[in-house]
Amino acid sequence: MSVTVRLPGALRDAAGGKTKLEATGGTLRDVIADVDRRHPGFRGRIVDESGRLRTYVNVYVGDEDVRTHGGVDAAVPDGAEVMIIPAMAGGR
């Protein structure tokens, strides 16, 4: 099960500076764990201590918000793109 994880600028420092990377896993939880194995600390940027998605990060599989599909339990089909969208305040 290979998927693509697309990272925003604000999270690239947590994944070795890459804009996207390949990962494996059938659910979002597995995909995050796979990235975290290679880039320790990544997981904590996406989910909180109790394992829930952080409320200032949105994760999409395709164009669907995973919050409406079970959160970290959301299925990630083979070949899907996982996009992480953080809140950003910059405007000036």
């Binding site: 940027r45 829930r52 409320t55 200032y56 405007g91 000036r92």
Partner: protein, 401 residues
């Protein structure tokens, strides 16, 4: 060769006519297309309500734009009922199947005591300035009047606010309110195109006012040289039709969100980080709000501002211009605004992506059970979001994850 008289009497045989009273009855009882084929100065002096202006001199070129349905009953009128007969015959050759010319024209309509309206008219200079808008049927003269009467509030005269305000002023949006407490500094000029080297040290709202009013004297710029707070936002926001959010910090964005819901104002949201931009329209009731999307801000150490993280100078140009585009669409009521749609721009990939946003039924300000019903301490909320939530709104922390 026939004389004009012969030609005209030939045409009269082919064209169906109706008296003003019959036309008035028809307009009441049936869905018809109504077009005024007179020249602009005649139209400006008064016309039938609901008519489109389709001058005979541009009949062939403009007909399909202004009266698009060739199968629908179409009524034409001029001043006295001559030009409309000729125009009706021309439309027939263009494929319009049911065209009626109003006999006696606008003059007889008025004499019959039927209702007519005077359009607000643009000055000759305005007609030139906005000529490229007037040519677009979706804008046209009535749309341009609408823009001139519109009031848009911009939060920030910086990276996003500069291009947004610039284009809105050029478009003739009549009143632009600008909230910004800063003065122009040299580091701004890499992207904040409203300002200039000679204005360093000048309040941004004054610099913006000078630039925008020089571009378009139709525009009134109202400057608010203050930071947006719970204490002043009601006074500032109440008067405006919509808000463009180009703030540079989370407390202002959450405050604006809560006030926009309170006052029922659409917010055109934009944000930028280095090479990436995000854009959407938060329209109260019709779609999600900022808190549906991000119930809490990230902790400050994970959310650097442009001053800390840097930003490609042209990026706010792209995103701010798109915000102006959304604002104009909302003001005119045209197109599909970005309500419930999050548009993501990546300057390095030169790519746009879009994801769907949903209203959160648990949202503390726009959801079914509202727990935030007045302004909060936004600085405190953004400085340590989880502590604030634990103290004030325990339910929001149980959002699905």
């Amino acid at each position: 060769m026939p004389t004009y008289r012969e030609l005209f009497s030939e045409l009269k045989k082919r064209v169906r006519e109706a008296t003003p009273q019959q036309v008035a009855d028809l307009l009441r009882s049936q869905d018809v297309q109504l077009a005024d084929v007179r020249e602009k100065n005649e139209w400006d002096a008064g016309h039938l309500p609901g008519a489109v202006h389709l001058p005979k001199s541009y009949l062939e070129q403009w007909a399909e734009d202004r009266i698009p349905d060739k199968g629908k009953t179409t009524v034409l009128y001029c001043a006295g009922g001559v030009r409309s007969v000729m125009a009706a015959d021309t439309l027939r050759t263009l494929g319009y199947t049911d065209v009626i010319s109003m006999s006696g024209g606008f003059n007889r309509w008025k004499d019959a005591g039927l209702e007519w309206v005077t359009p607000e008219s643009l000055s000759p200079e305005q007609a030139q300035r906005y000529s490229r808008h007037l040519l677009i049927p979706e804008v046209g003269e009535s749309g341009q009047h609408r823009l001139l009467k519109s009031k848009v509030l911009l939060i920030g005269a910086g990276g996003l606010g500069s291009p947004a305000a610039y284009y809105l002023a050029a478009a003739g949006v009549g009143t632009l309110g600008i909230v910004d407490s800063d003065v122009v500094d040299l580091t701004n000029l890499q992207r904040q195109i409203l300002h200039s080297s000679e204005r360093i040290g000048e309040p941004k709202v004054e610099s913006a006012k000078r630039t925008l009013e020089a571009l378009n004297p139709d525009v009134t710029v109202v400057g608010y040289q203050e930071r947006l707070t719970s204490a002043n936002i009601d006074r500032i926001i109440a008067d405006y039709d919509l808000v463009i959010d180009g703030a540079d910090n989370f407390p202002t964005r959450y405050l604006l969100n809560d006030a926009a819901i309170k006052w029922n104002k659409p917010v055109v949201h934009g944000s930028i980080y280095r090479f990436e931009g995000q854009l959407t329209v938060f329209k109260p009731q019709d779609g999600p709000c900022y808190r549906c999307l991000f119930p809490t801000p990230p902790p400050p150490e994970l959310a650097p501002s442009c001053a800390e993280a840097g930003v490609l100078g042209v990026l706010p140009g792209v995103v701010g211009t798109l915000q102006a585009n959304e604002a104009i669409k909302l003001l005119l009521g045209i197109g599909d605004p970005l309500i419930g749609r999050y548009l993501l721009f990546d300057a390095l990939d030169a790519s746009f992506r879009e994801v769907r946003l949903r209203k959160d039924p648990e949202c503390p300000v726009c959801g079914e059970r509202r727990t935030i019903t007045e302004y909060i301490d936004y600085e405190g909320f953004c400085a340590s979001p989880s502590e604030w939530q634990a103290e004030h709104a325990p339910r929001a922390t149980t959002a699905a994850g």
